[in-house]
């Protein structure tokens, strides 16, 4: 049975933990607002660009471009871009993404294909580097997601594209957390190279196919400029989504932690009071029985 002093100490420490988690929740909530609006704005840009590319790819069947991958037979090596957060304490966000990456790597290894990893976000690198150290063979191993803006995304995207043109890898996929809402984030995998027509045939897209566009200067040139751009923008979108997801996940995780700490404090206080009462009763009995003996 712990002494009264021990219980008091525990209650105090849980109380201070609760204060910290509560503060973290507040911070996450205020950051979330900004991150969410950025992610939503980024969505309109990336989906706009994506719809142009889709329309282009669908409208002309015999366009060839390395990023479309229709003239590649040897798909032996792939690059995996993992977007995670920089810090922990955000629920299962990072472990979910790592799980998905592991699954993918196992799949690739089963097919005797090699893979390289690039991490955006420190946590993903921390979790994966222990397991797959050799796969971090790209010139950039990881960058902190907090330091990334559009310009630096463009730089890293260009580096990745350069190494693709050098034929270092033939496929590229992107793992990130899609921000559904504050309480729900889901791991999404996007295949960036070769450019895949995702199966979401939304109405706007359908519209696009029907319309005949005039392309200036011509289709091929538009495509050859727009595909690399789309690649970078999709990465940037994933970064924005991940940032919003991180704050959302942290907010929920910290909310739960605060609630748990509250429950714990209640339990401990109950124990403390019971024990205090027990001691008082014991002392009373001692006094009374002492008086009776006289």
């Amino acid at each position: 049975m712990p002494s009264l002093k021990d219980l008091r100490n525990r209650i105090d420490s849980v109380k201070s933990t609760k204060k910290i988690t509560q503060a973290m929740k507040m911070v996450a909530a205020s950051k979330l607002k900004k991150a969410q609006s950025l992610a939503e704005k980024g969505r309109s840009y990336s989906s706009g660009l994506d719809s142009i590319v889709k329309g282009l790819v669908n409208s002309s069947e015999n366009i060839e471009h390395p990023l479309l991958g229709n003239n590649l037979d040897d798909k032996s090596s792939s690059l995996i871009i993992v977007v995670s957060s920089d810090r922990g304490l955000c629920g299962g966000l990072n472990s979910n993404i790592v799980k998905a990456v592991k699954k993918k790597i196992n799949e690739l290894e089963g097919k005797k294909k090699s893979a390289s990893l690039v991490c955006i976000g420190k946590k993903g690198f921390d979790l994966l580097s222990g397991l797959y150290e050799k796969m971090f063979n790209f010139e950039v191993k990881y960058i902190n997601i907090s330091e990334v803006d559009y310009k630096s995304t463009e730089e890293i995207g260009k580096k990745i594209l350069d190494s693709f043109y050098k034929n270092d890898f033939q496929e590229c996929s992107l793992f990130y957390n899609h921000f559904n809402s504050v309480i729900s984030q889901e791991v999404k995998v996007e295949k960036l190279i070769p450019y895949s027509n995702s199966d979401e045939a939304d109405s706007e897209n359908q519209n696009n196919i029907d319309t005949y566009f005039e392309y200036e200067p011509n289709e091929e040139e538009v495509l050859s400029k727009i595909l690399p751009k789309n690649f970078i923008v999709q990465i940037y979108k994933a970064i924005l989504e991940s940032k919003a997801s991180e704050q959302g996940a942290r907010m929920t995780a910290m909310d739960n932690a605060t609630r748990n700490a509250g429950d714990m404090i209640d339990n401990l206080s109950l124990k403390y009071n019971r024990q205090r009462q027990a001691i008082i009763t014991k002392e009373l009995i001692e006094i009374i029985s002492g008086a009776e003996a006289l």
Binding site: L38, K41, G42, S44, Y45, S46, G48, L49, I52, G55, L56, D149, Y150, E154, N207, N208, T211, Y212, F213, E214, Y215, E216, P217, V222, K225, I226, K229, V233, Y236, L240
Partner: protein
């Protein structure tokens, strides 16, 4: 003048700069400036760095932006302008930009590396065209 309006949206990767009904939008196309109005044919084209002029519905004053290249898609009287970098012309600080140009020029003289030089020249050109757009 036609009755209809062109719905215009100007977006950059992390901001929506303008959204509204317009009478006309003047865009810096790669082969020259062009104006888009109601019932413009569906088109997809690039923009070079330059001025975007937006004539909002009913307004006499135009809004001018500087853009550093991008794409434009016009379809069904929707004009979607996608740019990497955009600034309202009224917010451009010409003096500040000239200071930056002279800084970059002095850097340019010191470096020999062709890659860095190209990058610097590109930046200088961009700031210069930004200044031109402010006039």
């Amino acid at each position: 003048m036609s009755e209809g309006l062109l719905k215009t949206q100007i977006i950059s990767p992390d901001n929506e700069v303008y959204e509204g009904d317009t009478d006309m939008v003047v865009l810096p196309g790669e082969d020259g400036d062009f104006a888009a109005m109601y019932e413009h044919a569906p088109i997809i084209t690039f923009l070079r760095p330059g001025k975007v002029e937006v004539f909002s519905k009913g307004e006499k004053e135009k809004i001018t932006f500087f853009v550093a290249g991008g794409f434009v898609k016009i379809q069904n009287n929707n004009c979607l302008v996608m740019v990497d970098y955009i600034r309202k012309s009224s917010e451009i600080d010409v003096k500040e930009n000239e200071k930056r140009i002279s800084e970059l020029l002095s850097k340019l003289e010191k470096t020999q590396d062709q890659g860095i030089r190209d990058n610097l020249i590109m930046n200088i050109d961009l700031i210069r065209s930004e200044n031109q757009a402010s006039e």
